[in-house]
């Protein structure tokens, strides 16, 4: 049985392909303006090297911000549900997931089967989302990918006093002009985002183990800062960025196995 999950977010499209429950292919592509085209590109990349074609995929579950605009989906599922499902399948001890995306952040608490208990979602304020990191990286002329390594070179504990991205950007630029070291500033930036996301997670009650998903989870500086803010060791997922797509694919497998019964039906 071949199934797939497709997660189209605001910044990237992710696809995971499962063959008899095992992930045999996955891909992440940067989103263009057309979610459907981005999803198709991710699917093509995920299929590459598997020897399969799109026609071989029996069932598609779509999720994410752009899910309603994907033309080839068989079923839509909320990303909260998909992320919870994906996380437990990736690491069975995980009961809480913090997902920091490009334009939102979520904290999801779930049971041992990946059923969602409570969640908190922020897409109202850019602070605490990946966009904060992007804007500051741009202002400091640093590659987004380099933020994590830079923050590990920090020698001082700076604290940003502004939570608002707009105000923090000004604050950071004045720290630079005052001669503060970039690694120290980058670490302060991660701690600032972590302060915001950890508060969100605490508001729904922490449940251990905690893992992190989303593209930002690849950033070690962010991971360190979140562990510090939550005062615990967190679980590292092998594929944090395709976690939602993986969850979607697992749900697709469930639907096929149950003879086409959709979860809500």
């Amino acid at each position: 049985m071949i199934v797939a999950g497709c997660d189209v977010g605001s910044l990237s499209a992710k696809v995971a392909i499962l063959k008899n429950g095992d992930m045999i292919g996955s891909a992440v592509v940067r989103c263009g303006t057309d979610p459907d085209a981005s999803a198709k590109a991710a699917l093509r990349d995920a299929l590459a090297g598997t020897g399969l074609s799109a026609e071989d995929v029996e069932y598609f579950v779509t999720t994410g911000y752009g899910r309603k605009r994907i033309s080839f989906g068989n079923h839509e599922e909320s990303e909260i549900v998909c992320h919870a499902r994906g996380a437990v399948a990736q690491a069975e001890s995980v009961r809480m997931l913090i997902d920091i995306g490009g334009q939102d952040a979520k904290a999801i608490r779930f049971d041992e089967d990946g059923r969602v208990e409570r969640y908190f979602y922020n897409d109202k304020c850019a602070s605490g989302t990946g966009r904060f990191l992007e804007i500051i990286a741009e202002a400091l002329e640093i590659e987004l990918e380099d933020l994590g390594a830079l923050s590990r070179q920090a020698t001082k504990d700076l604290l940003l006093s502004n939570q608002c991205v707009i105000f923090a950007e000004t604050e950071i630029l004045s720290l630079v002009s005052e001669g503060m070291e970039i690694p120290d500033i980058v670490k302060a930036l991660h701690r600032s985002v972590a302060r915001r996301t950890s508060a969100m997670a605490k508001s729904i009650g922490l449940s251990h183990d905690i893992a992190m998903s989303g593209g930002v989870a690849k950033n070690v500086g962010m991971f360190d800062a979140l562990q510090e803010a939550l005062k615990c060791d967190m679980v590292r997922l092998d594929k944090p960025q395709v976690n939602g797509a993986y969850g979607a694919a697992l749900i697709a497998a469930d639907i096929v196995a149950s003879g086409g019964n959709r979860p809500q039906d």
Binding site: I135, N162, Q163, C164, V165
Partner: protein, 263 residues
Amino acid sequence: MIVAGCDVGSLTSKAVVMKDGAILGHAVVKSKARPWESAEKVMGLALENAGLKQSDIERSVGTGYGRGKIPFVDRTLSEITCHARGAKWLVPSVRTVIDVGGQDCKAMKLDPDGRIDKFVANDKCASGTGRFLEVMAKVVGVSLEDLGDMSRRARHPVTFANACTVWAQADVIRHLNDGVAVEDIAAGVNAAMTTRIVTLVNNLNVEKDVCMTGGVAKNQGILSGIEKQLGFRMKRIRRYDPQIAGAIGAALLAADGEEGEER
């Protein structure tokens, strides 16, 4: 008695020189990175405007974001106190003051004697502050003044889904790329701004008369937008620049001999 008030804000610095309850000179300058430089410069201009020199000032009060770093004042007082006093002097019937500055938004309710009853403030989030307008004007590529004027020529104002300055900025870029008229974007920016201000103000039980102070009070689009949402007209400050209300209040409080933090 000759007194002075100096209000060093995040974006602009203001100074007023008064004698026996009348304004002799005033000035507004863009704030520099160092608050003391802004203070010296703006006070120098206000004194020049009044035809006086620093040694003529008997008492002075500093206020604003940078008040702790003004070298020449005797005392410092909070912006809330100074804006309330300044607004009361400018509009004697005022009971609610809305002050929108470059980096914050405050609203104060005054009792009939001008004492502060209650106040609310946002200085955590750029949305609903002058900074929001500044960011949007920059994205659209027009001056702050033009943004206000343009909004009045809008035919189909856009609506922003979200108050966050960062997200609204992305929306503006998308609208520009889609070929939406800049006038319609400007009107959307003003509407988002006024909604945010009125949401804050409504945390007070607003009483008339209402007036607006601060740099944003010079933007007619914002003023009328707030009036539309409040459902009544505000008292317009016409005698003087509404941006100097805090500095006026500081000068008046200096004359009163108001106890502040001594320097």
